[in-house]
């Protein structure tokens, strides 16, 4: 069984072979014997032999699928690791750093919540970092700001409206 597993933007080749009730796992060419026991719906106990065959390391791994984001939220011990199977793209955090600094910009709700206030009007010129919309979630108000200068072209919501994460709020050109 071959898998392509993507973690942190890097694709790793995993090959699993079953023999005598145990697995041999090869990750990027490193081959180790693994004993895997499922504890409950999410927790696995892994015993992984060192290549030398002398030491056996114990890992508690929890794996929770995130179907909406098309990935798995895993913990190896306390360490969180986000895993995509077979090269599936993860998206979300990466997209933000790549925002353009010219051209149209879309202000979207980063989380579900309530629109407290819209601070701009259609046709209004806005400058970079100007607050555009105030959204409230979990009792904290968060200002969503313009990433760069522009003009308000569309306002898709009104004060007091509840919105889901990812909802388009304001478009600027």
């Amino acid at each position: 069984m071959r898998f392509e597993v993507e973690i942190g933007g890097r694709v790793r080749q995993v090959n699993l072979q079953r023999a005598n009730g145990r697995f041999t796992a090869t990750v990027d060419g490193r081959e180790r014997r693994v004993d895997a026991v499922r504890v409950d719906a999410h927790i696995w106990s892994l015993l992984v032999e060192h290549e030398s065959g002398r030491s056996i390391f114990s890992y508690e791994v929890s794996i929770i699928p995130e179907p909406a984001a098309d990935r798995f939220a895993a913990h190896v011990g306390p360490v969180p690791v986000t895993v995509c199977l077979d090269g599936r793209r993860r998206w979300g955090r990466k997209a933000q750093s790549g925002q353009p600094t010219v051209g149209p910009q879309r202000v979207v709700a980063p989380m579900s919540g309530k629109v407290v206030r819209i601070l701009v009007q259609i046709g209004e010129a806005v400058h970079a970092r100007q607050p555009i919309v105030v959204i409230e979630a979990m009792k904290m108000e968060n200002e969503l700001r313009a990433t760069h200068d522009g003009t308000v072209a569309e306002i898709r919501v009104r004060d007091g409206q509840s919105v889901d994460a990812g909802a388009l709020l304001v478009v600027m050109v």
């Binding site: 898998f3 597993v5 790793r12 969180p80 895993v83 989380m111």
Partner: protein, 513 residues
């Protein structure tokens, strides 16, 4: 006053905490709940439970009439407000008393007086305490931008815009640049109006690099006031405490005595009863200033319990019954060991601390020696978007500070929450920071170091653990293909199915061998 049945006018971990104290005192307990909290832990732990309305706080947990009705219907004789919601609302305390019930907390008069930050500052000044420089009254609602700017300039920048009725960091904004003043006042007023029903704000100088030190106290109805060893609450994010410890490394014995005496004198000045906390700021030269008084049980009360052995909630109920405090006051200022608390929030620390509501798929709290987990969450529950995102308080106690830190690190390794993001990685990172471990920090420390990380994840997996994660997900796909089908759509599902078929052959083959 006899108390046999207590209504807990709150939700989450604090409602559970109060119910536990009642249970230990053989008191009956009554829960109230909003729609989304129907199956919450506090409802399940209580003897009786009553619906008080829809999810929005103003329609349920802030509805004084419905909560008092529930108390009367249940035949409760006392109401515990917890913290947040109506805990510092004098109208609620008064409504409880007017209904012939006992309010487990201070008198409505004391709540009103100290609930106004401006009146509290005046009371502290009368008791002889230094207060942080600021406006003596609230900013007029109709104040023009120019008027506000004039007042602000007389106080000096940087300054804080603070809700007169505030608490918990809500309705508060820092202003470094005069150009941001109007926006900060507008935001703070709006947030304060939503959170406390009172949009009034005032201005206060922002001290540079202060520490937040507070003194818990208990006061009975017979004039006895007992202050406790200080709590250090300087690890804050956007003015919200996230880590607290006791005792403070910045408070020598003489200052401890002084702060305790000052806290007690503020309590006496206003005829305070029940549990309360006097908050101080400590500047870089060790000068202390009165900040405010919280007329309720604090979130972080548990660390005081750990180093003194006193059950503060139990004492709240005993004081409300009219009993006399008989604690050894000297011992309350001599902590046994050291305690630290991490507030586990449903927030994603690696994504700007955005709220992370949703279903908790998996929850395993840490346990073992010296560990206390005060939680209102269980697996299967949703963390609703309507309320404070605190899901648990993880507390570690040990003989001294280094041992308490080691114990907390051990507990953080054990704690597992799946399905939502939590602030656990932040704490794992913080408890490895040399400045934090050496006690070198102030109230802006965390915001500064977080900003300096520029969004890098707090816990970055080493390559070896990434390999383990990679093989684990692959193994799960092989051993329980259904899990893989949950993730992936369309053709991917079809591919997963194909993989399952081929796997079946493989397993059959190995069985046959």
């Amino acid at each position: 006053m006899a108390i046999d049945k207590v209504l807990v006018a709150n939700r989450g971990e604090i409602a559970v905490r109060v119910i536990r104290a009642c249970r230990e005192m053989d008191l009956s307990t009554v829960a109230v709940y909003s729609e989304c909290d129907r199956a919450a832990l506090h409802v399940r732990y209580a003897d009786e439970a009553y619906a008080i309305g829809p999810n929005a706080p103003q329609d349920s947990y802030l509805r004084i009439d419905r909560i008092v009705d529930a108390a009367l219907r249940a035949g409760a004789d006392a109401v515990h407000p917890g913290y947040g919601f109506l805990a510092e609302n004098e109208n609620f305390a008064a409504a409880v008393v007017d209904a012939g019930l006992t309010f487990i907390g201070p008198t409505p008069r004391a709540v009103a007086l100290m609930g106004s930050k401006t009146a509290a500052r005046a009371a502290a000044a009368r008791a002889g305490l230094a207060v942080v420089p600021g406006t003596e009254t609230a900013l007029a609602a109709a104040a023009s931008g120019a008027e506000m700017a004039h007042v602000a300039a007389s106080i000096g920048y940087p300054l804080l815009v603070k809700a007169v009725a505030g608490g918990g960091g809500k309705g508060m904004r820092t202003v470094n640049d005069p150009a941001d003043l109007a926006g900060a006042v507008r935001a703070a007023r709006s947030e304060a109006g939503t959170a406390f029903g009172d949009p009034a704000v005032y201005l206060e100088r922002r001290l540079t690099r202060p520490r937040h030190i507070e003194v818990q106290l208990l006061a009975d109805e017979h004039g006895t006031v007992v202050p406790f060893v200080e709590r250090e609450c300087s690890i804050q994010r956007r003015h919200q405490k996230v880590v607290e410890e006791t005792p403070s490394g910045a408070v020598p014995a003489a200052l401890r005595q002084k702060l305790a005496a000052q806290a007690a004198s503020v309590a006496r000045e206003v005829g305070y009863t029940n549990a309360g906390t006097v908050e101080f700021l400590l500047d870089e030269d060790g000068r202390s200033y009165f900040l405010e008084m919280n007329t309720r049980l604090q979130v972080e009360h548990a660390i005081t319990e750990m180093v003194t052995g006193v059950d503060l909630v139990r004492w709240q109920i005993r004081i409300a019954r009219g009993e006399r405090l008989d604690l050894d006051a000297g011992r309350m200022l001599s902590p046994a060991g050291h305690a630290i608390e991490c507030r586990i929030y449903a927030e994603d620390p690696d994504n700007g601390f955005q709220p992370s509501p949703g279903t908790i798929d998996q929850l395993r709290a840490a346990s073992g020696p010296g560990i206390r987990d005060d939680s209102g969450a269980t697996a299967g529950l949703d963390v609703p978007i309507f309320y404070d995102p605190l899901i648990s308080k993880l507390i570690a106690w040990a003989e001294d500070r280094p041992l308490a830190m080691a114990r907390m690190r051990r507990a953080l390794r054990e704690y597992r929450v799946g399905g939502i993001k939590t602030t656990l990685p932040l704490f794992t990172w913080l408890l490895a920071q040399p400045d934090f471990l050496a006690g070198r920090f102030h109230t802006s420390y965390l915001d500064e170091v977080v900003a300096g990380r520029e969004g890098r994840p707090f816990v970055e997996p080493p390559a070896a653990l990434e390999e383990i994660a990679a093989m684990s997900v692959a193994l799960q796909t092989v051993l329980t293909p259904a899990a893989a089908r949950d993730v992936g759509l369309g053709t991917r599902r079809w591919k997963a199915q194909a993989r399952t078929e081929s796997l079946r052959g493989e397993i059959m083959g190995s069985r046959g061998a």
